[in-house]
Every structure is written in structure tokens, then in C-alpha cells.
Amino acid sequence: MVDVAILYGILGALINGLRVGSLYGLMALGLTLIYRVTSIPNFAYAEYITYGAYAAYIAMTALALKGTLGLAFALAAALAVAALAALASDELAFKPLWVRGASPLHLLVASIGVGLVLRYSLLAVAGLAAGLLEASLPVRSTRLISIGGIASIETSHVLAVSAAVFFAVLLRIMFTRTKIGKAMRATASNPVLARVSGINIYLVRRVTWIIGGGLAGFAGFVYAYYYYVNPESGWLMLLWIFAAATMGGFTFYGSIISGLILGIAEQVISFLGSTYFGLNTAYSPVIALITLVIVLMYRPEGVIRLEALSLKKRV
């Protein structure tokens, strides 16, 4: 007979897995968009999330904002700062490299470098200013429904899951139906031809980075709404994000679904592992890492790629 408390625990892990998973999916969306258009495996992506989270925190605390309006303002700040960070890293590092014809591996190394600059300058600033090493939004996620006193659904759950679904559908529509989406796909597959056809590929690139960075900022805002943020929290999630994106074969729906699978697996496996085998929950990133390694080695084209076939047909 399984204990009722454990059943509730599993339910709670599932619900929290949904939130974490949709956050991973949301983060993987921006990474996917950037990878699809510019083919940069962007290791600096996680830092845009951290910057977004910190921008939201600083905006709210510095201006002493409260309530939903304050949250909206914080979200705007997160979007702006993360998009700006993404755009700046492209303009200063990735675009010049791409123009010089750098290989994907060099772009990867450059992105690690950009990530180091962003992360450690934030760490340096946080080390100087008081109270910045651990931050969270003053308006916290509140409980909506309580299940058995153990598991509960909070506003952050609703926000994360709905945002993930909404943005995946939106990006998919943008990528397939709109003019800018078509321009992005054209730029991705053949920049020279795209340019000859009258597409401003640099503008397309800029739009891509702004949208990708904005998504990171949104994810950072949701993260800071529930979790505590430190300058390294984005970096610690990077491997989950990469795992979700590669498992989804760098497609939008695939990213969200893989993110959800990974998030639920993380929560449920670490819950079961700690209750039954006494395993430390600190091992949970191993799940993401092993997924990443297995997917990259055996199915580098991705596991869940719902729209890949239909996209091919459309092109």
C-alpha cells in the first residue's frame, strides 16, 4: 500500500514539474529561434535570462512598485534588458565573427566567452552592492488552489504554462505564416540568396536576437517571480535548456514538449529518488545531462519534432 502522503508528493512533483518544464521550454524557445536563424549554439543565452530576472528585480525594488501594475512594469524592464543584452552580444561579437566566416565551433567558443563576460560582470557588481547576490521579486507567486495541503497550484504555475504554450504557438505562426518568419527561414538556409532576393538579412538578424532575448527576459521574469535568483542561476539551467532544445530537434513545439518532459522527469525522479533511495536532490541535473548526451549521440536531429515535417512541406 502506497502512503497517501507520497501520492500527494508525486502530484506536487508533477505540478511543479509542469512549471519548471514550461520554464525550460520557454527558455529553449529563444535558444531554438536563435539557433535556427543564426546557427549559433549560444552558451551566453542563459545570461540573458539572469539579466532579465535581475532587471525585473531592480526595477521593482528601486521604484518601490507594488501589485499587478508593478509586475507589468518589471516584465517590461526584463524584456528590454534581456533583448538589449542579446542584441548587444550579437552586434559586438557574433555578427562580426559571422561576417568573417567563423565556424560553428568558433561561434560556440565566442558564445562561452560572451557568457563569461556577462555572468562575471554581474557577479562583480552583485559582490559590491548589498542584497544583490540573492534576489527575488517583492510580489511573490500566490497560491490559487491547494490540494490536500501538500500540493498546490500557484499563479506562477498558470503564468509559466500559459506563457510557454502561447509563445510556442505565436513563434510557430510567425515562423511559417508571416513575412518576417519567411525572411528568417530564408536567411537561415542561404544568407547570400536571401540577400539577393532583397531581404535585409542584418535586419532579420536583429529582429531574431531581439525576439530571442525578449523570450529569455520573459523566462527570467517568471523565474524571479517564483524562485530566488543569483548571478549564476541562468548558467545552472543552461544544460537543461540545451537538453530541451536538442531533444526537441530545435523546433518550437518540440522544445516545449521536451522541456515539459524534462521538468517533470527532474521533479518526479528526484522526489522518488530522495524518498525511496535517500538520493541527494543535487543529483537531478544529471538527468538533463544524460538526456543531452544520449540525444546528441543517437538522435542529433531531435526526438520530438512535430512540426519539422510539415515545415518541410511548406517550404
Binding site: 561579437a93 565573427l97 566567452g113 560572451v114 560582470s121 544544460l239 544529471v286 548526451v293 546528441l296
Partner: protein
């Protein structure tokens, strides 16, 4: 003055570690084109195996001599406080002979090389399927898996506390100020050895085959080279070197901490190689010296020893500044000097071959003169 000499020997030791790592990465990536971003994985495996062997064996010897039984600990026996006590006082109590310390060091380094070679062979499996950026990400992830497990489990290196009582090779030496200098000399010996080795190996037919594989794998295959085997060989050699570097670091620090082997360490090695010059061993040494200098001199206490006082604000940001500088450095190198400071040179004919050719030529000339 003593502080300065310690500081400089510290720099030399870190230079040696980074130089061996960078030489091995240069062999793998610069010559062979295999982006082994799991450098720190093999380094950490070498460090763990050398550290645990030295601590375990040293503890056996010391406790049997002292007549103290160290047991009854849940994790590995060398993690217990008693073990730390025995090992840290072993030299002053005379429980371990100088020759035993040296033996522990030699055994540790040899075991590290073997473990590194074995895991390098295993680690070459992903290269059969992947190349370029995906291979880099895979090896990076494997390194993180090992670090996470080592950080959280008692095996092999006492989880987050770290294995803190590794017997260092010169622990018996009375003049403690000279210990670091002695170790620096030792590590320079290793570095010179590995430099000569990589220099000759890179200029050998095998090195040329690696270059062919890097430049065009299909062509190398057409010319009859088994590229999978070449990758296996280069990873075995490179990983064994990285593992030895890890072991040398452990015997210097006298402790093994899992968090020493964060992915940033791999990145430092990559910066060293790309800064100095890909596929150029001298350049790589220059890069390693720069990275080691950033590592050793860029903190408040080191600067104070050198007579530079820094305000408290700057002192707190200095450790982070190191990585900011490295990040900026790598982007600038990739943008403006992708060849590195000292670019790749054409393959040199080894000195011995030159000599042999010279003798042969002379011989031929003499023979021709003789027949006339």
C-alpha cells in the same frame, strides 16, 4: 621577499599545469581537429585517481607504522578526520619516509596517466558519431556529470569537503619556504618533457596524418588513414596528459576538491591555446603563461605581496574580473587574430632526420667522387 618567491613558484606551477593541459588540447584540437571540451573531465579523473591512491596508500603505511587503526567511517577511510590527522602529522612524526613520499607521488602520476588513457579511449566513442559543436557540447556535459557526482558523493573524493590530506612529495622537507620552489622545478621538468614529446609527435608522420584529418577528413580517408583510429589515439594521448596535469595539481595543492574542475577550467585551456596559436606548441606555452599569470596574480593578496595595495571594492571584484578578461580576450582573438599570437608553422623536419639526410648526402657525394 619570501612571499614574492612563493608567489612566483606558484605561477610557475600553475603555468606547468596549464601548459601540459594546453599542449594536450593543442594536440587534440590544434593538430587533430577534435574539439575535446571535456578537458577538465580527464584532468579531474587524473586528480581523483592520483589523490585517492596517494591518500589511501599513505594512510596504510603511516597507520601501520604508527600503530593507529583508522576505520569505522561510512565513506572512504581516507575521508575520516582521524585519517586527516594521521596524514598531516605523518612527516613530523616520522611515520612516512621521504622515499615513501616520492613513491606515492610517482605511483599517483602513473595511475593518473593510465586512468586518463583508458577514459580517453572510452571518451573517443562520441567522436565516432559526432563532430564540431555537438561533440564539444557532449564532452562538456560528460565533464559536468562527473563533477556533480564527485561533488555530492563520498566516493571518490569525500563529496563537497574534498579530500584534504594528500601526501605531497616534499612534505618531509624541513625548509617549508623551499617546498614550493622544489615543486616548481619538478613541474617544469614535466612540462619540458611533455613539450619535447608533443613537438616530436606533432612533427612525426602521425602528426601529419592528424593535420590531414583536421583539414579534410575525406581526403585523409582516401589516402588510407583510419580516422576513427587516429581520433582514438589522439584522445588517449591527450587525456593521459591532461590526467597527469590533474595529478600534478593535486600533489601541489595537497587536496582534491570537485569544484576545482568546473567547466571554466576547460575554457581557460581553450583560451590559452587560441591566444597562443592553434597548432603551435611555443604559442601554446605563451598562452598558458598568460592564463596562469591571470590566475595567480589577479587577486588582492598576491597584489599586496607585490607591493600594490588595492581598495576593498576592487579587491572583491578581482576574482571575477579574471573571467571577464578571459571572455573579452577570446572574442577579440577570434575576431582579429584567429591564428593566435604565433600562427601555425609548416611541418618541421625533425633534427635527427635532417642529420641523417645530411650524412646520406655527404656519403652519396663521396661515393660519387670515389667512383670517378
Amino acid at each position: 621577499m619570501e612571499g614574492v618567491s612563493i608567489l612566483f613558484s606558484q605561477w610557475v606551477i600553475w603555468f606547468g599545469v596549464y601548459a601540459i593541459m594546453a599542449l594536450s588540447f593543442n594536440l587534440e584540437y590544434g593538430y587533430g581537429g577534435v574539439p575535446n571540451f571535456g578537458k577538465v573531465l580527464f584532468m579531474s579523473l587524473g586528480a581523483y585517481s592520483a589523490g585517492t591512491l596517494a591518500a589511501w596508500l599513505g594512510l596504510q603505511w603511516a597507520s601501520s607504522k604508527a600503530g593507529i587503526a583508522v576505520a569505522g567511517y561510512t565513506g572512504p577511510v581516507y575521508c575520516s578526520p582521524e585519517a586527516y590527522h594521521v596524514l598531516s602529522t605523518a612527516s613530523s612524526q616520522g611515520w612516512l619516509e621521504p622515499s615513501q613520499y616520492i613513491l606515492l607521488f610517482v605511483a599517483g602520476v602513473i595511475l593518473a596517466a593510465i586512468v586518463g588513457a583508458v577514459f580517453g579511449a572510452i571518451g573517443s566513442y562520441p567522436t565516432l558519431r559526432l563532430g564540431g559543436d555537438f561533440l564539444a557540447i557532449t564532452l562538456l556535459a560528460l565533464g559536468e556529470i562527473v563533477r556533480l557526482i564527485a561533488y555530492n558523493s563520498e566516493w571518490p573524493v569525500c563529496s563537497f569537503n574534498g579530500l584534504t590530506a594528500v601526501p605531497t612529495p616534499f612534505a618531509w622537507y624541513e625548509n617549508k619556504a623551499l617546498v614550493d620552489v622544489l615543486y616548481a622545478v619538478l613541474i617544469i621538468g614535466f612540462t619540458v618533457l611533455f613539450y619535447i614529446y608533443t613537438h616530436y609527435v606533432a612533427n612525426s608522420p602521425w602528426g601529419r596524418a592528424l593535420k590531414a584529418m583536421r583539414d579534410d577528413e575525406l581526403v585523409a580517408q582516401v589516402y588510407g588513414y583510419n580516422t576513427a583510429k587516429l581520433r582514438l589515439q589522439v584522445l588517449v594521448v591527450g587525456s593521459a596528459m591532461a590526467a597527469v596535469a590533474g595529478a600534478l595539481l593535486v600533489f601541489y595543492a595537497g587536496s582534491v576538491q570537485a569544484n576545482t574542475f568546473k567547466p571554466e577550467r576547460t575554457f581557460e585551456v581553450i583560451v590559452a591555446v587560441m591566444l597562443g596559436g592553434v597548432a603551435n606548441n611555443i604559442g601554446v606555452l605563451v598562452g598558458a603563461a598568460v592564463i596562469a599569470a591571470l590566475n595567480v596574480f589577479l587577486n588582492a593578496s598576491a597584489l599586496e605581496t607585490l607591493g600594490i595595495t588595492v581598495p576593498g571594492n576592487v579587491a572583491t571584484t578581482l576574482p571575477y574580473l579574471r573571467y571577464v578578461i578571459m571572455g573579452i580576450l577570446i572574442v577579440i582573438i577570434l575576431l582579429y587574430k584567429p591564428q593566435g599570437l604565433i600562427p601555425e608553422k609548416p611541418v618541421q623536419t625533425p633534427f635527427l632526420e635532417k642529420l641523417r639526410a645530411l650524412i646520406k648526402e655527404k656519403h652519396v657525394v663521396e661515393e660519387a667522387a670515389g667512383t670517378k
